[in-house]
């Protein structure tokens, strides 16, 4: 190790070699059987349980927890996978503190919910480690469906369609399937190549052909797909990251790109990271980028969000995680300029303090200059790079407008779901739900035809 946290600039290897494995280990280690039994015993098996309502995929949580507590985690896993085929990933990445666990009645009773996420992981890990795929395909329908994008929405849709007997072709622009599970989630939430293992496990259903490196617009058009397949599902995510006008140049990049590089890196000590890192944004991506910057050895990491803490999309839990890793959270400030030195290297970012008023954000006139060698911009993503490929599709705001069952207009046989589709939060679990529901809608349409 030649560098340290104090080395100026953007450099690799700030930490001793052994620190990387430690820093990027599982954030929540899996429950062992005893821990799972103790955690499961706390579930009250509520009637019409609030946790089920709070889950975008409506997993029967009390039932699967009861199945764990009676010593049948494999049955519990099946209960989970029936609703959410990516239940293994969701157990790792769901913001349970704002979903099922927030709704848990023991949160009301004692301020300590049943550890639903970790129990879900216990169940799904048990079955997946055994290499068991719990579903089989229905009788072949002879129908062919194209799924664009092998992210959570596309995989969920493809699996459900395959189960129902349809033949599915997934086209995926990147070299690997998984979407944000593979390229976008913080490393410590999905260790040991889980995203790829999960896809391989999911594909055991059969009837799904995966074609990597095939990009919509470049290699195939939507019209071609709609013409040559009985139905098409768009699960393309939001491929473009917004950037900030006036804040550009050396050292400034998208947080999504930073995380993607990190996730694909086989040697984290080789990844350059700034001594002073600034992340701009208020969502999970901002937190993931900031925390991982610290874990790579950055000395100072700040997340700067233009609104107040209460408006932050990242949950209080995520905020606390960031704070516990030494990330500074700065609120009510928006970037106005990037300052580069004579050598062209980024030196600082200037922010204007803003008040969140009913008329919108208003600069207060006061500014703050944060030293920065590296900036990760995490202010959101959009469809932009696919603009031409989707020129015909009706939009709702900046996303694809979806109608009953997830259909997009003006096509008669194209559906969409996940982050690219309007409505719902941009969460893995929401994408899974939308993909699954679109599959059911496609199935109904194909069965009627």
């Amino acid at each position: 190790m030649t560098n340290s946290s104090w080395t100026p600039g953007v450099v690799p290897g700030r930490l001793p070699a052994e620190a990387y494995a430690l820093n990027f280990a599982d954030l929540h280690p899996p429950l062992d059987p005893h821990e799972a039994a103790v955690a499961a015993d706390r579930c009250y098996f509520c009637h019409d349980a609030p946790c089920i309502t709070a889950c975008p995929t409506s997993i029967d949580i009390p039932l699967f927890i009861r199945q764990i507590s009676t010593g049948t985690p494999e049955a519990a896993a099946r209960t989970i996978f029936e609703q959410n085929i990516l239940g293994g990933m969701c157990a790792r990445v769901c913001p349970t503190e704002t979903l099922c666990e927030e709704a848990c009645v023991r949160e009301a009773a004692e301020g300590k919910p049943v550890e639903i996420g970790r129990l879900q992981r216990y169940a799904t890990d048990t079955l997946m480690k055994a290499g068991v795929h719990p579903f089989t395909r229905g009788p072949a329908t002879g129908k062919r469906v194209a799924v664009v994008g092998a992210g959570p929405a596309g995989l969920s849709c493809a699996h459900r369609l395959a189960m129902l007997g349809h033949d599915v072709t997934i086209v995926e622009a990147k070299e690997k399937p998984g979407g944000l599970n593979e390229y976008g989630i913080a490393s410590y939430k999905t260790v040991e190549g889980f995203a790829q293992a999960e896809v391989a496990w999911l594909m055991q259903i059969g009837g799904i052909e995966l074609r990597n490196g095939v990009a919509l617009g470049r290699d195939v058009t939507l019209d071609e797909l709609a013409d040559s397949y009985d139905a098409v599902f768009l699960g393309i995510g939001l491929p473009g990251a917004y950037d900030i006008a006036g804040v550009a140049g050396n050292g400034i990049g998208s947080a999504v790109e930073f995380i993607r590089t990190l996730r694909q890196s086989t040697d984290l000590s080789g990844l350059p990271i700034g001594r002073n890192v600034v992340v701009i944004g208020g969502g999970m991506t901002a937190i993931d980028a900031a925390v991982q910057s610290r874990l790579l050895g950055a000395e100072n990491v700040a997340v700067v969000y233009r609104r107040g803490r209460e408006r932050m999309a990242a949950s209080p839990y995520e905020q606390e995680l960031a704070a516990s890793k030494g990330v500074r959270l700065v609120f009510n400030a928006q970037p106005v300029a990037a300052h580069h030195g004579a050598d062209g290297a980024l030196e600082a970012v200037e922010f204007a303090y803003v008040a969140d008023t009913p008329e919108g954000l208003r600069e207060t006139g006061e500014t703050i200059r944060l030293p920065a060698d590296q900036v990760h911009v995490a202010i959101g993503q959009w469809l932009e790079p696919l603009g031409d490929a989707l020129a015909d599709v009706e939009l709702d705001g900046t996303k694809l407008a979806v109608f009953e069952g997830g259909k997009v207009a003006p096509f008669g046989n194209v559906w969409a779901g996940g982050d690219c589709a309007a409505g719902g939060e941009d969460l893995t679990v929401t994408a899974v739900a939308e993909g699954r529901d679109a599959a059911m809608s496609i199935h109904a349409a194909l069965s009627a035809a």
Binding site: A37, D41, Y44, F45, C46, H47, D48, V105, A108
Partner: protein, 434 residues
């Protein structure tokens, strides 16, 4: 602090907490540890007749039933009486009693149902200076196959006969330990009294199989692929024991006979309940086997505090206090009308009350938007199931309808006077109230 000293069947002890005849009282080492921890007395584990001692199985001898968080709720055992030589036990009993003169030392006995056998062992026990004997007519496994234990306890005539032999032979108080594996507990209790017993103790353990191994298809505990019923004890058996104790306490033939209450006593509260239903003291085993001898300290402090709060100066004042309130169903007041009430501030919205009532009872709880659960008085029969399944203590309570108000379920005005089934018009055998 309330005075917990008790005199039971003439035997004094500093508190009403005795260790029951069981593995914890099999030798001096354990008993001395128990006395150090504060136990008021012990019933030494059952002695058999002179000669080669019994042998125990060499595989597992306990099985269990657990509640949430693997809390032990029920325990069963297939252990026999002491497997140590008689003279070793007698020597240790004598030494311990000599060293701990203020503690109750009662010796449990089980010998063949022959007069000579009993008359032979009694002087040996008497010589130890023990305070009393307990006749083990309860052990339901192993020894019962040899005509002892519950095999005797299930035949009132034998109980009376053996009790009489003992009373004729020894100066020591005789406590008869009863088996619950019978249909009417009053019969063996009456037989004990007829034989001259100074007291009864109950319950001994209940015939049980705690579980079945679903791989080997053998009952637990399993010995080389086979299992035998054992004796069940622990918190799970307390309700059965309380009922049996109360039956003896309120039976005209046995009323006033000292009762040592046994069966699932785990906390001071359990002990207090046994006392109020007529017990003069309690015996404990499973709680000690689960948590160690130290549990007696909570029992002592808890009972004492409660007695202080209630203004009871002695255990005798507590004993039997609830017995007059144990009655037959036919005497329960049918004009006592209650309705469930849900405290919305305490409710955590789990909906278990709703599921229980809607699926298995009277559809008397409404589930309203926002998961607000409310009792429908017009349907509520006051069954108490919602109270029992609610995970929050005191969230659901049963509130009495004031006399003069109308019960929305029946449309009838609640009457202030007492009326029971014996006078109810629907009862074909009703006698008109004058």
């Amino acid at each position: 602090m309330a005075d917990l000293r008790t005199e039971f069947a003439g035997i004094a002890s500093p508190n009403p907490f005795w260790l029951a005849s069981a593995p914890p009282t099999d030798k001096a080492y354990n008993v001395v540890r128990a006395f150090r921890a504060g136990w008021g007395g012990v019933v030494w584990k059952t002695l058999g007749e002179e000669g080669p001692p019994v042998v125990n199985v060499n595989g597992p001898r306990y099985g269990a039933v657990w509640g949430a968080d693997r809390r032990l709720l029920g325990l069963n055992n297939i252990e026999l009486i002491t497997d140590r030589p008689l003279e070793v036990n007698l020597r240790e009993i004598k030494e311990v009693k000599r060293d701990w003169p203020d503690r109750a030392m009662v010796v449990s006995l089980m010998v063949p149902c022959e007069e000579q056998a009993w008359k032979a062992i009694l002087p040996l026990v008497e010589e130890t200076g023990a305070d009393g004997i307990e006749l083990n007519f309860g052990c339901p496994h192993g020894m019962s196959e040899r005509g002892m234990g519950s095999a005797v306890g299930q035949v009132p005539e034998y109980i009376e006969m053996v009790t009489r032999w003992c009373k004729q032979t020894t100066r020591m108080p005789v406590i008869v330990k009863l088996t619950p594996n019978i249909t009417d507990i009053r019969k063996p209790a009456r037989a004990a009294k007829a034989g001259g017993a100074d007291a009864v103790s109950l319950i001994n353990t209940i015939n049980s199989i705690t579980s079945v191994d679903l791989d080997s298809f053998a009952p637990e505990p399993t010995i080389d692929g086979k299992g035998s019923h054992g004796g069940y004890c622990g918190p799970a058996v307390k309700p059965i024991a309380l009922s049996m104790v109360s039956e003896i306490a309120r039976d005209a033939e046995t009323a006033g006979m000292p009762i040592s209450g046994i069966g699932g006593v785990t906390t001071w509260r359990d002990a207090a309940e046994f006392l109020t239903l007529g017990a003069g003291n309690v015996q404990v085993c499973t709680a000690a086997m689960t948590y160690g001898f130290k549990v007696v300290q909570e029992m002592i402090s808890g009972l004492s505090e409660w007695m202080d709060r209630k203004g009871f100066a002695s255990v005798a004042e507590v004993s039997g206090r609830a017995v007059p309130n144990v009655t037959d169903w036919q005497h329960l007041n049918l004009n006592y009308v209650t309705k469930a009430r849900i405290d919305q501030d305490l409710c955590i919205k789990c909906g278990r009350c709703y599921a229980a009532c809607e699926d298995t009872s009277h559809q008397a709880i409404a589930m309203k938007p926002g998961r607000v659960f409310e009792v429908i008085d017009a349907e509520c029969v006051a069954c108490n199931l919602c109270v029992n399944v609610c995970p929050v203590e005191d969230c659901i309570t049963m509130e009495r309808l004031a006399p003069g108000s109308v019960d929305p379920r029946t449309g009838r005005t609640v009457q202030p006077d007492y009326a029971n089934w014996t006078t109810h018009p629907n009862n074909p055998a009703a006698t008109a109230a004058e």
